[in-house]
Structures are given as C-alpha cells and as structure tokens.
C-alpha cells in the first residue's frame, strides 16, 4: 500500500513538473504513451464520395511526438494493399485518446477498396496498432 502511494506521489510530481514547464506548455508537450496502444473504436468510414473518402478510428494514447500520422494502406485486392494515404494530426496531451482521420483522394467511383490502418510518429516510427483488413465501396 505504501509502495502504491509512493508511486502515485512520484507520478503526480512528474506530471506536475511536465505541466509546469513553460517550454513544454508552449512547444507541444509529448503525450504519455498508453501501456498498450490499441484501437478502441473503428476503423470506419466517416465519408465516402465517388473519388474521395475519410477513414477514422480512435486509439488510446500512442504517445511520442506531438504530431502523428494516421496511415491507411489500401487497394482493390485484399492481398495487395499497395497504395498509401496518410494525414497528420496533433495529439492532445490532455486527452486520454486520439482520433485519427485520414483523407483518401483519387479514388475510383463504384469501387470496393480494402484497407488496414496504422499510425506513426512524425519521424515515421510506427505505433503498432495495425488493424485487420476492412473494406468499403465508393458510390
């Protein structure tokens, strides 16, 4: 019990130090990484047009750099996801989750696309949350 209290105290001190530093406050502080980063909702289609789509999903906090990229690998053959779309988002250090949204341009009308999603830090380092293969069709 005492050990637990000590840990909680140390955590509280560490968090307060992070938040009390003006430099951290102004230059996008890093976000704490969840013990196991995973997709908690989605991925799902937010919008699908004949030539355009947005895919969104939510993960618990991936941590790391303030800017992340949502990454969608897709194709018309579920075994050949040879195209990539990625969009930047900003992590919010005050949030316990992150909503990723990725724009997909240049799609073909009335076509079924297969895709998986992942996310990376700004330098390309993956968050290892790759989803199973899903699909959607453009109108």
């Amino acid at each position: 019990m005492n050990k637990l209290l000590l840990k909680l105290n140390l955590t509280a001190i560490a968090v307060s130090l992070v938040y009390s530093s003006p430099a951290c406050t102004q230059e996008s502080p890093s976000t704490n990484k969840a013990a196991r980063v995973r997709i908690t909702q989605g991925p799902e289609i937010e919008r699908a047009d004949p030539d355009f789509a947005i895919i969104r999903w939510t993960s618990n906090n991936p941590g790391g750099s303030p800017e992340h990229y949502g990454v969608v690998r897709y194709g018309t053959d579920p075994t050949k996801l040879n195209q990539t779309a990625k969009s930047p988002i900003r992590l919010n250090p005050g949030h316990s989750y992150t909503i990723f949204r990725v724009r997909m341009d240049g799609l073909k009308p009335r076509t079924t696309y297969y895709y998986t999603v992942d996310s990376t830090e700004a330098d390309g380092k993956g968050d290892r949350v790759k989803s199973s293969v899903k699909h959607f069709s453009t109108p």
Binding site: S20, E27, S28, I54, P66, I89, L91, G94, H95, A122
Partner: protein
C-alpha cells in the same frame, strides 16, 4: 556703392527671391503629387470590384491615425528621463528598457520608412485591430494591403504581431520531426543571424517590394539618420551609429521603390564602401531589435485579457465562456495546438479545479499546419501580372500561383525568402501548405466603438487565416467543426445550388497535401461553436488594464447580417485555375503528391 551697382544688386536679390519662391512652390506641388499618386498614377491591374471603392479615403484615414500615434510616441520620448549609461558591461540604467521600447514605437509609426514617405509598419498593423489590418473594406475584398506604390499589394493577411516576439528562432526538432518557431505565416523570418525571429521579421517589410518597398536596406539607415528621434537612437545604440558617408545619389535611390527595372535586380544599389555598408547593416539590425522591444513590451503584448485574469483567479468566466474553454480543451481539440496551459480535460458535469499549468500561455504551439483553406480569388496577388510604371511585376504566375507556405520557403521559392539552411529543404514536401499556428490571443480585438468582430454588430470587419477567406470568428470555428462534413469538390464561388458557402458548403482546399485532420468534423452544435467564440473573446488584452492606443480608430463600424454569412456578399467566382506553376510546384523536392 554707386547707383548702378545698387540697381544690379537689388535686381539680383529680386530674381533670387522669385527663383526661391518658384522652387518652394514646385516642391509643395511635388509633395502634393506624392500624396495624390494614389489616384493619378496608380497601378491598377485589377478587375472591377477587387479594390474597395473607399480605398483612397481609407488609406488617408489610417495615415491620419498613424500621425496621432506617432505624436503620442514622440510625447512619450520627450517625457522620458534619460537613462544613465553605466556599469560593466555598460547598461542604460533605470529607463533603458523604456528607451529602446519607445524607440521601436517611434519607428513603428514612422511613415518616412518608405520611398514615398507614405507607409509605416503599422499601416497594416494598427493597435485597435490587435495589430492586424485596419481597413474593413480591404479585409473584405483585396485581402493584402496596398504598399508604398499604390496599388501594389502582397499576398497574405496582415498577421497580428501581438506576442510574435515570444516565438523562438526557427528550429527543426529532429527528435519530434517538426519545425518550431520563426515569424510570418511561412516562418521565413527564421532569426538565424540575430537569433530573434521577431527582430528579423521587422526587417522584411521595409524592403518588401509590395509593402514599404525600399530598394536597399541602407535606406533604413538613411531615413533614420534624418528622423526627429535620431537622438534617441544614438542614445540607445551609440553616438557613431550614423557615421556613414552616403553617396550623393542615395536620396534618389531611396525615393525609388524596390523592384524598379532601373536597379537591374540589384539588392544593394547604393554604392557604399564595405565599412559604411557594415555600419548601415548594424543600423538595420538595431531597427529590427528596437521594434522587437516595442512589440514585446506591455504596449503591445501585455497579458491583460480576461483569460489572464481568470488564470490569476481574479475573473470568473461566464457560463458560456467556461463552456467554451471546456470545448476548446475537449471536443474542439483546439488546445492540441493553441496551447492554453490548462492541465485537464473536463468531462460533462466536472468543474475545472486544476491549477493553471502556465500563467502566460501563448495559445500557440509555435508549429505549422495546413488547415485546408480554399483558394481566395479576391486575393490581390493573383491580378498583378503586368508591370507597373517602374517595370515591376509582383506575380507573373497569375492564378498559377499557389501558396505552399512553409514548403515554398524551404525551397526558397517565389514570394518567400531565401532559406538559410539547406538541410531543411528535404522537408518541403511534408510541409507544403503549412502556415504558422498564430496565437489565438487578440483574434477578437476591435476598436472600442465597434466592440465585436461578429455581425450583426456594430462590428469591426476583420479577416482570418493567411488568405483572409474567413470573415468572422463564428465562421472560423464552424470551419474547424465542419470542413470535412460539408466538403464540396468545387472552388470558392461555385457551391451547388441549395447550399450556402461557409455554412453548409466548404470549397476544396488550395493545397490538398498535408491537411491537418485534428479537426474538420468535430460534431459540435451551433451553440457549442458560439461558446468557443465566447471563449476566444476572453483572450483580448485590455481587461485588467486599458490596451494602449486602442482608441485611435476614426472609421466606421459595420452593422447587420449574420456572423455565419458575414462577407458572403463579396464572394466572387474563382476562375478556371491553371495548373500550379512550375516555378512553385516544379522545384525540387517537388510536392508529393503533385499539386493540381
């Protein structure tokens, strides 16, 4: 003296007097011509309606207001107790801080720092607009402000320079993989030499061809050497500051705007010796540093808003303001980049009891983002495709111009500045379209008699984002909230029948690459948008103490209409766009994917 000699002497005196009178009269007429060049010799390549009909009187109004502000600054200087230079290193004891800040203030309002002596820095940055654009009709129409040569104009809105001194020197953080800092929307003022991005920012407009327009940085030294406040400059920066032997042709050169064909592309047409060139450069550096001192002072960046009082515990946010703050931190996700220093994210029903993480949050992350603004066809830059009377053409690319922001700067591209760090160039494709995240502070500042930016008012018409496409804070929040929900594959002015642009139709982005997806479909209600606007209005300085010089607006407030559709009467159809010009999109490393 005999009678003949006397007659000759008197005759000569009379002739001299007549000649002097003629010369003085000619000078007076010449001066008036300079004032009246706006209408007589104006460069006007614009189709009807791009320039606002009240442009000339509005320019003169702002110039009158500038003279009031300069008068106040002169009075401040004259009332200043001289500092004492003492100590080691030598320091201007007691009033040194106020001396350099006042010097910067005097410079900021000095209309002599332009070839036609008709434009000061603050012409585009007046206090009552939070040091952004002071002419409502320009904010509604041509977006960029006319420069010393009427009517050359730039390409972007006049960025507020409150809190700009707090931005660090531009840095690429290798660990984070991100750029931080710099000044200007495209961060081109890096601060690489002065180690001060804001001081370097102040150095750009005096030699920007479409702004104050000197052809040579040494012209700043020349005009400062003639300024009424030269003694203050010498007191702050040293007696020998102006020991520069300017060649006889210097005046003529500095009376001619930059970009004139007569200069043959030279950036240093004044033939100074290397020693005098160095002295002139030193004056030019001190120009930037003095203005930075003013901009960082409580005259410009005082941290006196309601939100600052709230952080101190001296102001209780109203229900709507508090709801707006919760949304700003929560559902709106605004503080993922407009950092407000708060430590928690509140859930429904919770009360914010957290200690403030910072007492002076700047409401920016010093980063850059592409928010996907549509191309604004009203922007004056697209129409300046033919040479003016000096042989200068601002934009030969016409509508082939695309504003890639930070990406163009990293490529040292047209309309930006040379990139001083070639190791950054590789990052251009991942920064195309990105513009600096401005502080949200003072976005809502207006003159006291027009107390809001929002219709029906009475309101002061501002313009938002780099290209002025957005005309009210309501529209700004609605854009973040619904950009992707109401996305249409059209350009501005072509929303489908049955939709209303900026309400339930957002045209395609000018730069489709690197669009930030943190926002765009936030699911906020109309009321929640209004609450964020209410919170943004708490960020206006002047609550705890009056904001200096906010009282100088002598123009007219606007009334009527709705903030949702504010300015929509001035929408014009975007013409068929040619491809992005190769001078912009064909420069290595080229944008990926290619920009249409």
């Amino acid at each position: 003296m005999n009678r003949g000699t006397l007659t000759i002497t008197i005759s000569l005196l009379v002739l001299c007097t007549i000649a002097l009178c003629i010369t003085l009269a000619a000078r007076k007429v010449s001066g008036r011509n300079s004032e009246a060049q706006t209408s007589a010799q104006a460069y006007n390549p614009y189709p009807a309606g791009i320039l606002p009909s009240d442009l000339n009187p509005e320019i003169e109004r702002v110039r009158r207001e500038l003279r009031v502000l300069e008068g106040r600054a002169l009075a401040r200087w004259r009332a200043l107790k001289p500092p004492i230079l003492t100590g080691q290193p030598p320091t201007l004891q007691n009033t040194g801080t106020e001396a350099v800040e006042t010097l910067g203030e005097l410079m900021n309002y000095d209309q002599n720092i332009s070839p036609n002596r008709n434009q000061a820095c603050s012409f585009c940055h007046m206090p009552y607009a939070g040091f952004s654009g002071p002419i409502p009709s320009v904010n509604l129409t041509m977006i960029a402000y006319p420069g010393t040569v009427h009517f050359r104009a730039g390409k972007r809105t006049a960025q507020r320079y409150t809190y700009s001194p707090f931005f660090p020197v531009l840095q690429y953080n290798q660990v984070q993989g991100l750029f931080f800092g710099g000044n200007f929307f495209d961060s081109r003022s890096t601060g690489y030499l002065l180690r001060n991005a804001d001081a370097e920012q102040a150095q750009h407009p005096p030699v920007d061809t479409q702004e104050m327009g000197f052809p040579d940085t040494a012209c700043v030294a020349l005009r400062l050497s003639q300024a009424e406040y030269r003694p203050l400059f010498e007191q702050v920066w040293g007696k020998g500051s102006f020991d520069i032997k300017f060649p006889p042709e210097t005046e003529r050169i500095c009376d001619t705007p930059g970009g004139a064909a007569v200069f043959g592309g030279s950036a240093t047409p004044i033939p100074l010796t290397p020693e005098d060139g160095t002295r002139a450069n030193t004056v030019y550096n001190h120009w930037g540093q003095s203005i930075d001192a003013y901009e960082q002072s409580v005259q410009v960046s005082p941290f006196t808003s309601k939100f600052d009082a709230f952080l101190k515990g001296n102001y209780k946010l109203t229900a709507d303001e508090m709801a707006g703050l919760k949304l700003f931190d929560g559902k709106g996700n605004c503080n993922s980049c407009h950092l407000d220093g708060r430590g928690t994210t509140l859930k429904s029903g919770q009360t914010d009891t957290s200690a403030a993480a910072a007492v002076n949050p700047l409401l920016t992350c010093f980063g850059s983002a592409n928010e996907g603004l549509p191309l604004n066809p009203r922007n004056a830059i697209y129409y300046q495709t033919t040479p003016d009377s000096f042989g200068f053409t601002a934009n030969p690319l016409g509508f082939g111009y695309r504003d890639l922001g930070l990406g163009t700067f990293l490529r040292s591209g047209p309309g930006s500045a040379p990139n001083p760090n070639s190791t950054w160039t590789q990052f251009a494709p991942s920064t195309d379209g990105q513009m600096q995240v401005s502080t949200a502070r003072n976005a809502a500042m207006t003159p006291p008699q027009c107390p809001t930016t929002e219709a029906p008012g009475p309101y002061f018409q501002k313009e938002f984002f780099h290209n002025g496409y957005i005309k009210s804070l309501k529209q700004l929040v609605h854009f973040y909230n619904t950009r992707d929900k109401y996305k249409y594959n059209v350009t501005s002015g072509h929303c489908p029948a049955g939709t209303t642009e900026k309400v339930d139709c957002w045209p395609m982005p000018e730069v489709p690459n690197n669009i930030d997806m943190t926002s765009g479909n936030l699911g906020m209600t109309d009321k929640e948008e209004d609450q964020i606007v209410a919170f943004l209005q708490t960020l206006t300085d002047g609550y705890t103490t009056p904001y200096p010089n906010r009282d100088t607006f002598t123009g007219t407030c606007m009334t009527g209409g709705s903030a949702k559709t504010q300015g929509n009467d001035f929408l014009i159809p975007t013409p068929q766009l040619p491809p992005c010009a190769s001078a912009i999109c064909g420069v290595q490393p080229v944008p990926k994917p290619a920009i249409p």
